[in-house]
Symmetry: C3
Subunit: 158 residues, 3 copies
């Protein structure tokens, strides 16, 4: 596909990321990241208070793959579905080889009963490496959630 | 409007589609489709189980127009409003004359009382015909809903 | 950032606007507007009935700045957070120096307890002035809300 700007490529990257998770192709999810990367789920309150730990933390693509394996092998009968809706990327910094980007998201959970609920909202704070005109990877994706209910949040990647 | 890529044109197509429904210009809705087309509303569960029927099914633009006529003539006092929010298109396949595209959506329903609720979420699975640089039409739009509550879902197009 | 079309610039404008509010940089919010501008929050019902007043009304950038000052000085202990998700812009009219644009939005409110709720949905009806290739400002932003519950809506800009 012939894309015309870095902004458009960031939009496409995010649409592919959301689709990977929504269509349950989780094995492909680590491929969005660099070998050495940072993936973290945290909350706005944690960020504000300077807490660095995060709810989920991985610093390599291998750790992300492990996480998916664990998820697949856990005997959880998941009848719920998730739907990620991403907003438009905001480019904080745009250098030749790397962009800093923030993108808002909302995740809806649909229970087996058909009931829908707002599950999570927040923003991605990313550093995206531009490997080539057609290949962008996350060097860093910090998922900053607005709220801090995390009982079942661990079930799927955000 | 001078658009620079097929991706951008797909975004514009979707924004026009959502706006047509949200602004209650339903008579223009069939114009987004080819004369011979497929429009279907179904659920993720149906798709998974190989059920082909769908909740709503139309295979021509004329059938879509009939549907809007029926809706307008039905004596339903609709005080609710709907708000479609579309995510970013994911291009599955991009040929010269046709694209396969998937686009997530969420529909919010606003009751006369002002109460808001999540009404539906899911994804469009489209085949879009590129008639000319400025004219795209749906050859196929399959609306795959995440949930399967459909009591009043029949009221408006998705 | 090298943007390739007016449509893309409108998308970026909206992503910056949403991010300004979501990240609580409200002092920068008036900068999205022309000196002489129109900012109004109203409802779909008001628009339909021809009521012109609106719930909030400002016709200069200075009035918008006043509004933020008032908000900052009010002793409200705001534990809630807001998350704006914007849809894709629909360009109604595209002249050289000004565009008429409509963009759907949803606002989610996250309470201190972590509870999330749909707070508002609707559409922006904008007149955007093209000052230069990289600088767009709102000459007019009419916020038309779908519902009409407005108890606490006055707390933040939409």
């Amino acid at each position: 596909m012939n894309l015309s700007s870095i902004y458009e490529r960031l939009i496409v990257l995010n649409s592919e990321y959301a689709r990977c998770i929504n269509s349950d192709q989780l094995e492909k999810w680590p491929d969005f990241f660099q070998e050495n990367c940072l993936y973290k789920i945290t909350t706005a309150a944690n960020v504000k208070n300077g807490f660095d730990a995060g709810i989920i933390y991985a610093d390599s693509k291998a750790m992300l793959a492990d996480r998916i394996n664990a998820l697949r092998n856990a005997n959880i009968y998941e009848r719920q579905r998730y739907r990620h809706i991403l907003g438009l990327p905001y480019v904080v910094e745009d250098a030749e080889r790397e962009c800093a980007v923030q993108t808002p998201f909302v995740v809806i959970r649909i229970m087996g009963s058909g009931q829908m609920e707002l599950f999570a909202s927040g923003e991605y704070r990313d550093r995206v490496t531009v490997l080539s005109a057609d290949e962008l990877k996350f060097a860093e994706r910090i998922v900053v959630c607005d709220g801090d209910r995390f009982d079942t949040l661990l079930a799927i990647p955000l």
